[in-house]
């Protein structure tokens, strides 16, 4: 059938993309200026010691052999040892992945809920001060660089009104008791997740507002009003319900961007996650760590893209027909 062929094709693309990323991932860090071995090899060592260290880290092989070893290890989830901590990169990523996932899920859920609600609200109040204000503010936040807003918020709530922690995922030492620990984590989450929402809700709100306005002009909305339904029901049950499919599609389409945006957010708020790990690794020319983090993020992006393609195919039947060759 059309849809399964479409799905297979998308899966094929995903595999190719992953392979290309894998290769770039290998090459890019080796093309970077500077000599990574300086991080781990003291020039005072004897030549024998240097050779031994290079052998341990697999740096004495020709590049092509290194590449094949690297690919082979990837399939075994062996990402090598970090140059700086000498621990397996896989273990370090495992520690940090939950933090990134929490930040990502919180930002994503709040952004979509707030964005869509604001869009519905502004569409129902079209032309009023509330509409203009919210739409304008959303556009502004969307247009300026995200790190700028994040730094301003950090300054505001960390320095001028110091009510929120400025870095980390929890207090050190953590408070006693599960509930207090949980609240402590939420407390640390407010700034990074909140700033992500402020930066991103505008585009959802605008998109929802525009599709809602189009839906509100339809005849079936007049029918719903004429039936004597409360305005709230008309808005949610009739207008929003009919424009939800394209919005859901768009949300999935935006997932990859949110994943990669984590690098900036985590760096600014010193969030102990994969994005910050990548940044640090790049700064320290820690090949294995950077490769691992980079690959993990790329994997997440590819998976999100695949999910977007699948959802799109489900929501819009025309895609299936076109791709399935039923012409």
């Amino acid at each position: 059938m059309g849809f399964s062929r479409y799905l297979l094709r998308r899966l094929g693309y995903a595999v190719i993309v992953l392979f290309v990323i894998m290769t770039f991932n290998f090459a890019i860090f080796r093309l970077m200026p500077g000599d990574a071995t300086k991080m781990i090899i003291d020039p005072m060592f004897t030549p024998e010691a240097i050779a031994e260290l290079k052998r341990q880290f697999g740096l004495d092989d020709p590049p092509l052999v290194q590449y094949f070893k690297y690919v082979g290890n990837l399939f075994k989830f062996d990402l090598g040892l970090s140059f700086s901590t000498r621990r397996p990169v896989v273990n370090e990523l495992k520690e940090r992945l939950p933090n990134t996932a929490v930040l990502f899920l919180a930002s994503f859920t709040l952004t979509t809920i707030i964005g869509i609600s604001v869009g519905v609200y502004t569409a129902s109040k079209r032309g009023t001060f509330g509409d203009n204000f919210v739409t304008g503010a959303g556009l502004f936040a969307f247009a300026v660089p995200s790190f700028w807003i994040q730094l301003l918020l950090l300054m505001l709530f960390g320095y001028y009104i110091p009510i929120l922690p400025i870095h980390g995922t929890m207090s050190a030492p953590p408070p006693d008791g599960f509930l207090l620990q949980f609240l402590d984590r939420i407390h640390h989450l407010i700034l990074p997740a909140g700033s992500n929402v402020i930066v991103a809700f505008g585009s959802w709100a605008l998109y929802t507002r525009n599709t809602m306005l189009e839906a509100l002009g339809q005849d079936y909305i007049v029918t719903a009003r004429a039936k004597g339904l409360p305005e709230n029901t008309v808005l949610r049950h009739h207008a929003l319900r009919s424009v939800l499919p394209p919005i859901v599609t768009l949300i999935f389409g935006a997932l990859p961007g949110m994943v990669s945006g984590a690098v900036i957010t985590e760096t600014i708020f010193s969030w102990h996650g994969v994005g910050k790990y990548l940044m640090d690794a790049v700064m320290q020319q820690d090949y294995p760590a950077a490769q691992g983090a980079f690959y993990l993020i790329a994997l997440a992006v590819v998976i999100c893209n695949l999910a977007a393609d699948i959802v799109y195919g489900i929501v819009d039947p025309r895609i299936r027909v076109g791709e399935g060759g039923a012409k």
């Binding site: 339809q218 079936y220 029918t223 004429a226 039936k227 339904l229």
Partner: protein
């Protein structure tokens, strides 16, 4: 007593260049169990009048006076929430112009009927669903199709669903705005017949808006002809069709080909409908009227009764017209 009494109703749209007087001092009655047809060319205010009665006005439309009495109660004065709960669909329901788009594409047709019932009556969902099935059956749709979506229905069937929906709360008055315009001729007559049967059976009053005079002739008791936001001729369907008296009404009736008469060219009225932002002074029809004299350019004619049977005409030259002058023939 009339179930619906409209007096001096005025509804204007506010635009950047002033008020568009879409409904200007309109008065008419609809008797219980009777149907009133409202005819007129595009843009004369027919649909505006329908949405004014149900208060489904766009944000720039506003009622500027007059009263709409439903069973003796002036519904113009009710506040929005009360109007929504006690009048919309419960007392006055509507069958809409676009048969294709009047149903929400993402909800099952049965649910859309149930929703109307539950908005006004405190009954269990199951009971409302049973009633929705009965309603579908009543308009000739298999109740098994309750769970289908609008795109699975043909245009004529969608319009039947809309009619079933309009009957859901046993309203007193149904406003039908061009109910058959989007349908082909065969389906048109089926839908009209279904509506007629139901109206007779349920003793419903109806306001039927159309530019198709044959639809009015077939289904209505009375007719009101609108021109530029005003009613220019009003009366029993037979009187008005046999003896149209207002120059515009006459032109409108004459412009409709008679299949039993000799073949002639269909006459159209010269000129264009007036700009409602600045309607002509005096009688609004005078720029297109062959009889127009000085008084027509100065004074607005009243709707006055001529002959018997409450046949009313708004024209200064009514004496001349009553003598049977045929003004639209060469």
């Amino acid at each position: 007593m009339a179930i619906l009494e409209v007096r001096d109703l005025k509804m204007y749209y506010k635009t950047l260049r002033g008020h568009v007087k879409a409904v200007d001092s309109v008065s008419f009655d609809i008797e219980r169990g009777k149907a009133l047809g409202i005819a007129g060319e595009s843009g004369c205010g027919k649909t505006s009048m329908a949405v004014t009665v149900l208060r489904l006005l766009p944000s720039n439309g506003k009622i500027h006076g007059g009263s709409v009495k439903l069973d003796g109660i002036d519904i113009v004065k009710l506040d929005d929430e009360e109007f929504r709960k006690s009048v919309r669909w419960k007392k006055i329901s509507m069958v809409f112009q676009g048969a294709m788009n009047a149903l929400n594409p993402v909800h099952r047709v049965g649910d859309q009927i149930v929703e109307a019932i539950l908005a006004h009556e405190d009954v269990p969902h199951q009971e409302a669903a049973t009633r929705a099935e009965e309603l579908l059956d009543m308009v000739g749709i298999n109740p098994k199709r309750y769970k289908e979506y609008p795109h699975e229905f043909s245009g004529g069937m969608k319009q039947r669903v809309v009619i079933a929906m309009a009957l859901a709360c046993n309203p007193d008055v149904i406003i039908a705005d061009e109910p058959t315009t989007a349908l082909d001729v065969m389906v048109q007559s089926q839908v009209l017949k279904a509506m007629e049967d139901l109206r007779k059976r349920l003793d419903l009053s109806m306001m039927l808006i159309t530019h198709d005079l044959s639809v009015i002739a077939q289904t209505c008791d009375n007719i009101a002809i609108m021109y530029a936001g005003k009613i220019v001729e009003y009366g029993n369907v037979i009187d008005v069709f046999d003896n149209p008296t207002h120059p515009y009404g006459m032109g409108l009736v004459k412009s409709f080909p008679n299949i039993k008469a000799e073949r002639t060219r269909v006459r159209s009225l010269p000129g264009f409908p007036p700009n409602l932002l600045a309607p002509p002074k005096g009688c609004r029809f005078h720029p297109r009227c062959p009889l127009a004299g000085d008084i027509c350019m100065e004074e607005e004619p009243e709707l006055i009764e001529i002959g018997s049977n409450s046949h009313k005409v708004a024209c200064h030259k009514v004496d001349m017209l009553e003598r049977g002058v045929n003004i639209w023939e060469q």
